[in-house]
């Protein structure tokens, strides 16, 4: 990535900027070894990130049988079936590997012991006997979209989705408001102990959430927040990352603007609402993206707080799928893909803001 910035000017008039960017090399004549190294590294990284997701997406389109198949296939296959004239229903197709009919694709109409009665779909009148070991099933590409329809219809997917959506949206709005208020006070008011307060807020970054899980739960239960979506929302709205990010941004907003607004008869709240918030929009956008990602993917805290399944978020529902005696892997995978989709869409739409935000805030 660093190569692009140090790139020698590529003499390529008419080439699009993206092409120039991609083709840029460190070496002036041809590729330097660092170019090779960075390409290898980048390709490796891309594969590392994308192969599991692609694998997940492809697998979510397999039937349960397709998932159980050994060796596993990359693309979703299912045993091919054919309709036979004169017989009701569909019959599985097999390719014969030995004997007189080797190479032919026949449909199995009946199986008796180790013998299968098979029929050539082209000549359905004649029944052919083939030993079971002398044939293999014919597979064909098939996307099992009904995994998805089953997830939506058979489970309370929409309820879980709504729970996740509600928590994500409401918590993000509250997070933005509260963090912006804290950041405003910390960046624009001079009061005794301001530095200490800010240091304390930052210090909470160093406390792993698992350590305060139990005390948090006790407080939530005292407040009657257990088994309520608000119990997931409230404890997490004050984020040190958000306060830090917004404060650093608000420090760059000139004080003279606030003075001007004060001369303009604006109350302190109006100052915050009409001047500070709109001007902090870039930082707020970054925090909104972070908050959405945190909340959508949040698992541990909802797991602790929410025990009734009608309050489950998508992440909890996914988890409970796996806990049952028989795991419907095809449905689990389909639901996982559905869970990933919203966050992926947000990434696609707000990609530029996210990278900008990460670069400017220096947070994960």
């Amino acid at each position: 990535m660093a190569d692009a910035t140090e790139a020698s000017a590529v003499p390529a008039r008419g080439m699009s900027r993206a092409a120039i960017f991609v083709a840029a090399t460190r070496g002036r004549h041809g590729a330097d070894w660092t170019d090779w190294a960075s390409y290898v590294y980048l390709v490796f990284g891309t594969l590392l990130m994308f192969v599991p997701v692609a694998w997940l997406a492809l697998s979510s389109l397999k039937t349960q049988a397709g998932l159980d198949q050994m060796p596993p296939t990359v693309l979703p296959y299912e045993p091919a079936r054919a309709a036979l004239p004169g017989r009701p229903g569909e019959f599985p197709l097999f390719r014969v590997t030995k004997g007189d009919h080797a190479g032919q694709e026949l449909a199995e109409v009946r199986r008796i012991g180790l013998q299968a009665q098979m029929v050539d779909p082209a000549a359905p009148a004649a029944v052919i006997r083939v030993p079971v070991s002398d044939r293999e099933p014919v597979m064909r590409l098939h996307a099992a979209w009904d995994n998805y329809s089953a997830v939506v219809s058979r489970f309370d997917f929409l309820l879980y989705f709504w729970n996740s959506l509600f928590i994500t949206v409401v918590a993000t709005v509250i997070t933005l408001l509260f963090n912006a208020m804290a950041a405003f006070a910390l960046s624009k008011y001079n009061f005794r102990g301001r530095g200490t307060v800010f240091a304390l807020i930052l210090a909470t970054l160093m406390v792993p959430p698992t350590i305060i899980l139990v005390p948090n739960y006790l407080i939530a239960s005292q407040l009657g927040l257990v088994n309520s979506l608000w119990g997931v929302i409230w404890p997490g709205v004050a984020t040190p990352t958000g306060v830090f990010l917004l404060r650093q941004y608000m420090l760059t907003i000139p004080d003279e603007l606030l003075d001007a607004a004060r001369m303009d008869n604006a109350s302190e709240w109006r100052l915050f609402w009409r001047i500070m918030l709109p001007l902090s929009a870039p930082a707020l956008a970054v925090l909104a993206i972070f908050s959405v990602m945190w909340r959508w993917n949040e698992f541990l805290w909802p797991l602790v707080v929410l025990s009734r399944s009608e309050n489950f978020t998508l992440q909890l529902a996914l988890n409970s799928f796996q806990g049952e005696l028989t795991t419907s892997w095809n449905l689990l995978l389909a639901m996982t893909v559905l869970t990933l989709l919203p966050i992926t869409l947000i990434f696609l739409v707000l990609q530029r803001h996210i990278t900008q935000g990460i670069a400017s805030a220096g947070v994960k």
Binding site: L257, D259, A260, A261, R262, M263, A266
Partner: protein, 360 residues
């Protein structure tokens, strides 16, 4: 429209005293300029008047009412900031309307006032633009417009022209002076540029290190500066200061010996005795150069066409000559100065007034 009185106003940041007891009276409709070098406290004083900075002690009265404890918004003043401080996310119209909306002015009244201010400042075409789409001069006018629509008692300007280029500054200076005449409003203007002070002010307040050095109309400050600081600050190029020793002091004249230059006659001053060490001040435009003779040597000549500056040694003297000159570096010259244009300062830098002696 209002008058403003400051009485023994002081400001302290922790242990640092930045304003040491300022007394000042600004009359209704006056254009007062606070001038001084950077760090002299002029901006702080302005911010204390408008209420953005608390006053440590002393009283500020607007129209006879003590306003020390009133918040900025309720003092009825409007300020034009050095950076203009326009709200970047609002259009020009919204910028001007913001203050009026905050006090609940009816919509049609807001529109009328904005329309009037926009016409006056030639902003009609720009009302839907955002500040980033405006040039420096336009932003400046929007900032002034935002102040005008508020119809404040007093306009405050904090170095409003310092971000403009030289040419624009000259034209904005004229525009501001014209605006003052048209609005007949009380205005207080802070600058470090004595040219702005001289050209616009009815009354100049010269500040240094948090103290008022002198208050008066521009020409009074120019003609009879109260001390060496004011004498050096007002006027461009600045006044020449030459160390001098009193040779004889009589009722009719003072004879001085200028260090490294020679004798010179100055008007009589009270209380001088032979041997006293003084500083003689003479403005570049009052210094006459006579080619030939002794006393000074030409170091450099700057010809500006209409006038010329001649730099002389010793003491790095600058003389301003009307028109052009044939003097060249290295020429030996003698200096002449009209006695009544000479300023004398005592060892503390206080001006020795001529008038007192004549009265005595």
């Amino acid at each position: 429209m209002a008058n403003l009185t400051l009485h023994d106003v002081r400001k302290r940041f922790d242990d640092v005293h930045v304003i040491h007891g300022v007394d000042l009276e600004v009359r209704d409709g006056e254009f007062v300029v606070f001038v001084g070098p950077s760090g002299c406290g002029k901006s702080t004083l302005l911010r204390m008047i408008c209420g953005l900075e608390a006053t440590t002690s002393g009283d500020i009265h607007i129209d006879g009412r003590r306003v020390n404890d009133l918040p900025a918004a309720q003092r009825g003043l409007a300020m034009v900031f050095q950076s203009y401080a326009l709200y970047p996310h609002m259009t020009v119209r919204q910028n001007m309307a913001f203050g009026l909306e905050n006090i609940g002015t009816p919509r049609n009244e807001i529109d009328a006032r904005i329309g009037e201010a926009a016409r006056m400042l030639r902003l009609d075409q720009l009302l839907t633009r955002r500040p980033t789409q405006l040039s420096g001069g336009q932003r400046q006018r929007v900032a002034i417009g935002r102040a005008i629509v508020r119809e404040p008692k007093i306009f405050l300007f904090d170095e409003p022209l310092s971000n403009l280029d030289a040419e624009l500054r000259v034209s904005m200076r004229a525009e501001l002076a014209q605006l003052h005449r048209r609005l007949e409003a009380t205005m207080i203007y802070v600058t470090h540029d004595q040219v702005e002070a001289m050209t616009m002010a009815d009354k100049i307040v010269v500040l240094q290190s948090g103290r008022v050095e002198q208050v008066g109309p521009p020409l009074e400050l120019y003609n009879s500066p109260a001390n060496r600081f004011v004498a050096g600050f007002i006027g461009s190029p600045r006044m020449n200061f030459l160390p001098a020793r009193v040779v004889t002091a009589t009722q009719d004249a003072t004879l001085l010996e200028l260090e490294d230059i020679g004798p010179v006659t100055a008007p009589p001053r009270a209380g001088l005795r032979s041997g006293d060490q003084l500083t003689l001040g003479i403005r570049p435009e009052h210094l006459e150069i006579v080619p030939g003779g002794t006393g000074a040597t030409v170091q450099a000549v700057e010809q500006l066409g209409g006038l010329s500056y001649v730099r002389l040694s010793p003491h790095d003297i600058v003389a301003q000559i009307h028109g052009q000159t044939r003097l060249a570096p290295g020429d030996a010259v003698s200096l002449r100065m009209a006695p009544d244009l000479v300023h004398l300062f005592d060892a503390e830098g206080i001006a020795l007034p001529a008038a007192l002696l004549i009265a005595a």
